[in-house]
């Protein structure tokens, strides 16, 4: 299994260029995050990977199969969970799973057994025989996940799977995806809840305005760190800010405020580590010293400000592959 490979994938709808020349590789055995702002083309890209939409140009491989040429073969490998589950309203959760299983050529007893197994896995046992129309949004997401797993797919495509899930279900989803990847399968997951994505993904693909962009420059941009001294309050902020700034030898105007804590920008982790040493050696009572944003969030926000002009990074332009 070589996971998912997209090379120079382009798709437009009339005048709208939803995906432009996107290339990436989601490796088997890893969870890959697909990150991008609303309207970046994430769903369009996932639809092409799921064999439902044909790209205008470019090639896709799911495992060793081209989903455009052999959609039926690709569909046996891939499980797809759309952002909004279209549930047959009058069917029960159990029937939804068994019907889907039957469409993957499972025998009726196998389909029934699989439904019981999957409903337990996603935590819908109690609602197994309730019609889908009474399920809440989160419960529908769980049903959608169970449906995507029916045929034990090698590749899992998830479009915003965590939306509507309660915290416990999110933890559960995370464990499930990690377990899935540890079996050597491929997971591609799109989301814009970046802090959550960060906890589960090994790799990230950044999609901006339909193009895959190289995250390296954005990752190396100056990042804000949150420094909180023990017992910090809003009233004490200016004193704390002055102490931190003078210890680090930077002008006090350059630090920011965040709920009583001081925000300081560092170009990289080494600079941050050196600064922490200085603060500790100066006997300041440092209670918190951490990046103010998650790494994904930091990269993502810097990408957005950096992509006023179309990107021309090697990773997003593979002319030879098109």
């Amino acid at each position: 299994m070589s996971g998912i490979i997209a090379e120079g994938v382009t798709r437009s709808f009339g005048e709208v260029h939803a995906v432009r020349h996107a290339s990436f590789h989601a490796r088997a055995g890893r969870v890959t995050g697909l990150v991008g702002p609303n309207g970046a083309g994430k769903t369009t890209l996932l639809l092409m990977l799921a064999s439902l939409l044909a790209p205008d140009t470019g090639s896709i491989r799911i495992g060793d199969i081209d989903p455009v040429a052999e959609p039926l073969a690709a569909r046996r490998l891939l499980g797809w969970m759309p952002d909004a589950l279209g549930a047959w309203p009058s069917l029960t959760a159990r029937e939804t799973i068994t019907t889907t299983a039957r469409l993957y050529d499972m025998s009726t007893p196998d389909a029934a057994a699989r439904a019981t197994e999957l409903l337990a896995l996603v935590g819908l046992q109690e609602l197994a025989d309730a019609p889908a129309k009474v399920l809440s949004r989160g419960q529908k997401q769980k049903l959608g996940l169970a449906r995507a797993l029916v045929h034990d797919p090698q590749v899992l495509l998830l479009d915003e799977p965590a939306s509507g899930l309660d915290p416990q279900a999110r933890v559960h989803l995370r464990l499930l995806l990690r377990d899935f990847a540890s079996q050597g399968r491929t997971v591609l997951i799109s989301s814009h809840i970046l802090s959550e994505l960060e906890e589960v993904v090994d790799d990230a693909v950044f999609l901006v305005a339909g193009s895959v962009v190289d995250a390296a420059p954005a990752q190396s941009a100056t990042r804000a760190w949150r420094v909180r001294l023990a017992g910090a309050t809003d009233e004490r902020f200016s004193a704390d800010a002055w102490q931190v700034a003078s210890t680090l030898g930077i002008p006090v105007e350059s630090v920011g405020a965040d709920r009583g804590a001081v925000l300081v920008g560092f170009p990289g982790e080494d600079a941050a580590a050196a600064a922490l040493r200085l603060l500790v050696e100066a006997r300041l009572a440092v209670a918190e010293f951490a990046p103010a944003q998650s790494a994904l969030e930091h990269t993502f926000l810097n990408l957005r400000s950096a992509t006023a002009s179309p990107p021309a990074h090697p990773s997003s332009e593979t002319e030879a592959g098109a």
Partner: protein
């Protein structure tokens, strides 16, 4: 293509329908309607000795009417309705092929139309108690009715795959079905009346003593509508197909005993040219007054042409829907979403 997939998809469609209360109300209303119609039909045909055949033919025609009236609503959103509810993609992403989906949907739509026939079965049996219907009439009329159910269902499923919005595809299905049932009648009526020509009526003159003169003809000219030039328009009408295809039984006077025969007689009589009428009192039998049986023997059947046209329309729409539903989708009609 797989029979198991087709059956699963058809069952999925029908399960959803069977769990809606509205569906049972609809069938209940239909059954009530049939009670009234059966009673009236018995009164209508009480004059002849083939009462059963008459009642039977009325019930079959009413079932066809109901199928034509209700089926577009039930089949006209088969595909785009699922697309709007985002449930189509859930099936498309499985191992079921486009053909499985199309045929599964069609099978469900046909079964839905067939349910009306099922409800009507007891009434057809009651009609037969009156006696007089022969086995060939039963067989052919039920077969044609079944084919018409399939055709209307195919048109509905086809348009639901071609048109993006369910509301418009249901309306379009009604328009196509109405074009066949009412449109053909309108074209026939207006066309015949518009294409008038001069007709001549011949009769024997009478002399002053009131004696008929058998050596001369008296002529009289007038304008007539030319239905014989537009009769073929009616061929595509489902009710005409049903009537024209069903073998006609005649009573001793040469008149058809059931509604199939009466409709058929009307269509066949329209084939006759009205431009020359002869009333020959010297010939003893009033010239060419022919019985319905003779008229039918002297004119051509058209049901296979009409059925062919209907199959062509339905098949074309279904093929169009098939290519629109194919995945991975290359071109999407504006305003459609995949999921």
């Amino acid at each position: 293509m797989s029979a198991a997939h087709i059956a699963t998809i058809a069952r999925l469609e029908l399960t959803q329908r069977l769990r809606s209360v509205g569906w049972y109300i609809l069938l209940g209303v239909f059954a009530l309607l049939l009670v009234g119609i059966t009673a009236l039909a018995f009164m209508v045909y009480s004059w002849g000795d083939a009462m059963g055949a008459g009642v039977y033919s009325i019930i079959v025609n009413v079932v066809l009417l109901l199928v034509v009236l209700v089926s577009p609503t039930l089949s006209g959103n088969a595909i785009n309705g699922d697309r709007e509810a985002a449930t189509l993609a859930a099936i498309q992403v499985t191992a079921a092929s486009t053909g499985d989906i199309m045929l599964g949907k069609l099978l469900a739509a046909i079964a839905t139309g067939g349910a009306f026939l099922l409800v009507a079965l007891p009434f057809l049996a009651i009609g037969l108690l009156g006696g007089g219907a022969n086995a060939l009439v039963l067989l052919v009329s039920l077969l044609i009715l079944a084919v018409e159910i399939v055709i209307v269902a195919t048109i509905g499923v086809g348009l639901s795959g071609i048109i993006a919005r369910p509301l418009f595809s249901v309306a379009a299905t009604y328009l196509v079905v109405a074009a066949l049932t009412i449109g053909t009648l309108i074209v026939f009526g207006l066309g015949g009346a518009a294409l008038r020509s001069e007709a001549t009526s011949y009769s024997r003159p009478y002399d002053t003593n009131g004696e008929v003169n058998c050596d001369e003809w008296e002529t009289y000219t007038y304008e007539v509508p030319r239905f014989d030039r537009v009769w073929w328009v009616l061929a595509a009408n489902p009710f005409v197909v049903l009537a024209d295809a069903t073998p006609t039984e005649f009573n001793d006077d040469g008149y058809p005993v059931d509604m199939f025969g009466q409709i058929k007689l009307g269509v066949r009589a329209a084939q006759q040219s009205p431009v020359e009428q002869r009333w020959d009192e010297c010939a003893g039998n009033y010239g060419d007054m022919r019985t319905p049986e003779e008229i039918m023997e002297g004119t051509v059947p058209s049901w296979f042409v009409g059925l062919g046209i209907q199959i062509l329309i339905a098949g074309g729409l279904f093929a169009g829907a098939w290519s629109r539903t194919r995945t991975p989708a290359r071109r999407l009609p504006p305003g459609t979403r995949i999921a």
